[in-house]
């Protein structure tokens, strides 16, 4: 049995209480959401927070709802909720694609969207999903709220825009017509982290891609969103040639490393392959050829 270092524990009763505790308890305090990233790190003593602030009682953060041409998801929505949500499946099928291959049911029953984004692990899948969907993040402190787009949310590996007196409370995804999205992941084994993942979202009008984005996971620190991909997709006709070209652009914009999951060459190949596959499905879904 792996055991963490000594620790103090607080239970937040509201968002205000949570951010107040966070400011009060200092830099080494951490929120605990699902705990499926934080607790393993604590057991390995890679993370040694002085205090845990449990936010699992914040029922106000568990929602997935539609409002003002957006889908809004509370930071405490669990993987399981994202997987089961019909609202998400209808508008953003990329969520269900991704959630089917994130971890295992035990982890999905606890792990949260907020925790996933805040962990900011370069291999983590939901950042790629949210990036592809052009989501933004609502960050709350005792001074109020600010809204940050995904590309500004991730500051670096394991680092986000959330300051020590703040918490992530909501993720907002714009609802636009003609959308389609899909997610592709290669893993060594079910429940394993990605060797490479690629998410794609397109918005189409009259047979043309108006806007499109690709988010990647596990291929370097800064590949959740790739600008040249968006440029290549904007205004393009959805052809195999296009998917091929965008796959190549994605592949040349990532920086994977050789490790136990695979060689850099293989991962680069996968970026191209999975980008093509995700785009193909996203377009088909946008065109309602496939659900």
């Amino acid at each position: 049995m792996q055991v963490p270092a000594p620790i103090e524990y607080e239970r937040a009763t509201s968002v205000e209480h949570a951010v107040a505790l966070r400011s009060e308890l200092g830099d080494e305090a951490r929120f605990i959401a699902g705990g499926h990233s934080l607790l393993p790190m604590m057991k390995l003593r890679l993370a040694n927070p002085t205090h845990l602030i449990d936010i699992n009682d914040l029922k106000e953060l568990f929602y997935i709802r539609e409002a003002d041409s957006e889908v809004r998801i509370g930071a405490m929505a669990r993987h399981r909720d994202l997987l089961d949500s019909e609202l998400l499946a209808r508008h953003f099928p990329i969520f269900r694609d991704a959630e089917r291959v994130i971890a295992d049911p035990t982890v999905r029953n606890r792990g949260t969207l907020g925790g996933s984004l805040c962990q900011a692990d370069p291999s983590e899948d939901l950042s790629a999903v949210c990036t592809a969907l052009d989501a933004s993040c609502v960050i709350t402190s005792s001074d109020g709220q600010r809204v940050v787009p995904m590309h500004a949310f991730h500051v670096g590996p394991y680092e986000t825009a959330v300051a020590n007196n703040e918490m992530l409370t909501e993720i907002r995804i714009p609802l636009r017509p003609g959308g389609g999205s899909a997610y592709q992941k290669v893993e060594r084994r079910a429940g394993d982290w990605a060797v490479v993942s690629a998410g794609a979202a397109v918005w189409m009008d009259a047979g043309t891609i108006v806007d499109g984005r690709v988010g990647l996971a596990a291929v370097g620190p800064d590949t959740t969103s790739i600008q040249p991909v968006a440029e290549a997709l904007a205004g393009a006709a959805p052809t195999e040639d296009l998917y091929q070209r965008v796959g190549e652009i994605a592949a040349s914009n990532c920086s994977p490393e050789t490790d136990g999951r695979g060689t850099a060459a293989y991962k680069t190949h996968l970026v191209a392959e999975l980008t093509r596959r995700a785009l193909r499905t996203a377009v088909a879904r946008a065109q309602r050829q496939e659900v």
Binding site: R188, A190, G260, H269
Partner: protein
Amino acid sequence: MTTTETEPDQEEAQEERPIGFGRLLRKEDPRLIRGMGQFVDDISLPGMLHMAILRSPVAHARIVSIDKSAAEAHPNVVAVITGEDLAAQGLAWMPTLSNDVQAVLATDKVRFQHQEVAFVVATDRYSARDALELIEVDYDWLEPLVDVRAALDEDAPIIRDDLDNKADNHIFDWETGDEAATNEVFERADVVVSEEIVYPRVHPAPMETCGCVADVERVSGQVTLWCTTQAPHAHRTVYALVAGLPEHKIRVIAPDIGGGFGNKVPIYPGYVCAIVASLVIGKPVKWMEDRTENLLSTGFARDYVMKADIAATKEGQILAIRTNVLADHGAFNGVAAPVKYPAGFFGVFTGSYDLEAAHAKMTAVYTNKAPGGVAYACSFRITEAVYLVERIVDCLAYELDMDPAELRLKNFIKPEQFPYETKTGWVYDSGNYEPAMRKAMDMAGYAELRREQAERRARGELMGIGVAFFTEAVGAGPRKDMDILGLGMADGCELRIHPTGKAVVRLSVKTQGQGHETTFAQIVAEEIGIPPEDIEVVHGDTDNTPFGLGTYGSRSTPVSGAAAAMVTRKVRDKAQIIASGMLEVSVADLEWNKGSFSVKGDPSKSVTIQEIAMRAHGAGDLPDGIEGGLEAQICYNPENLTYPFGAYICVVDVDPGTAVVKVRRFIAVDDCGTQINPMIIEGQVHGGLADGVGMAMMEIIAFDEDGNCMSSSLMDYLIPTALETPDWETGHTVTPSPHHPIGAKGIGESATVGSPPAIVNAIVDALKPYGIRHADMPLTPSRVWEAMQGNHTPPI
């Protein structure tokens, strides 16, 4: 030789509560399924303290100094012990099972990452762990030896400078077979195919990690050790030898064990430390390693680099196989194999084929990696041997452009050749290979699969069909040849029938999940007709069981199972004499009808075993010279090993774009001789097949160039899940062992031995359009893709 085939539907019809062999639900399951098992970590004694071990962060370094003062000052810490402290008691080193020595705690230098350096005993587990961080060790970094191929280089760092005059990293050379005769055959062969085949280091990774609770009573000197051990008696004798205590002062208890797979055969430094701690402090001490400690420091398996050559005629008659093996044994030689067999039973690398000649050479070396090599399925290196032959035969099929199943069928040892002595001197007791192979091919629809494959290939799809046929040598072993540290590999058994006709059977072997409490009750039931539910199986406690060497290498049924049958027959013989008195006829006039004796020709005159049991303990007269009671004890010395075999076929699909492999089907036909409990056999096969998927496709204990282990958690050391494994299609043939009292062979490791080559053969077959003849495990998507690009590299 008789081989029978049973169809699955026939079995379904069998009675649900057999008195003897048959499908019987496992007696141990109600407690295990309800969480009422008692594992080592469930044991809690009054005043018990907790131990944690400080381990080396680096693979090779000299210990300059250790400062334990801050740890000792921790309020909950009772003791901090270093190698120096142990050395003062002469306990810093201990013998391994291979006549080497291993550091209990490092004194001079550390020789692998995560080697034991010091331990802390505290009032709770958390404090013990916390205090580890307060121990300051100053290391002088030394160049590590990680690459096994460089171990014997002139300039390689010397790992074992603790040994007298040790100027290299050489452990032993070993050879078997006839080199000259083999080379002669190779010279005249039409076809010779050579390949380097690597079986990477893997880990048994049992669900329960290793640990113990040690309780040394200071006044009487009595040592009680609850321990995760597969071999309680062997452990006890080793402790007795090391500590100079009589065995009866040491009680080793293996309670429920959560998987062993050979990982729980060795004696680990942690056990010794816990005993020392309890002795020094005078209180019980618990040590349970965590997952990382288990993966990084305990007995691994395999780690063989095998150069193989096969010689054949152009028609596909296999003539000879030779191999040259480089074996990585890690920093201490901790292999548990019979003393005369430093390479275990690797000599069975000739497989299931009738060869003209064979030869193997092996060199074993030290590296800066964890010691072991004992584990698992099959510890005695049969896994490596079978993988070698089944892979090189497939390479031959590739070169001859012959169907791999046909090639095997053409070369099998024929039924009339048994008992068959191989060119390396192993006497296969029985076998009938072709029916097993044909059955697997029928179940698979082999010809149809090959047709489908041709169609798919034409469309650019990658489908592979892999065939493997294995013969194992299990049930070690005849005491004239086999011992571990001088202890013969025979097993005792005691059977006692109570007056009411209920029974207790005491075994020397110990289940780690194999279902001994059920199968051994069934063996006794089959022989004496008492229902299995009335037969209690006692095992795992040296105070309550006869001596024997324990459970590993699939030896329980071949050795202890035989002992159980023989001891029951001994009791039955006595019962027959008592029955003759009860029925007033001569012994020769009695007939046994599984549970009762009746007078030949007059079935109405009979007595049940329960009635006999009561009589044996009762007040009435017994025949002349017969003592009261109904019990016996024996020690069974096997005449030979048993040789289970099987035919496996695997079907895979490979995504050409991502190189992801999907195991679509797996057909396993096993022959383990007489079947005691077909349900348990299937369970053993299912587990072993899943294990094979793991080894073939994802498992490896990998190291970086500094000797850091890259497989320190189950996130990095992957074990397959239900999603990677297909619905297993199992079948069997029955070719009883001629020398085993009930004809049973072992089944515990068959599937682990047979499945990796079947899966690798299938994946390589799928890649045939890329001109690939061989690729090493683990065939992860990345390694498959690299092979497709022509960049296959060995994993080590």
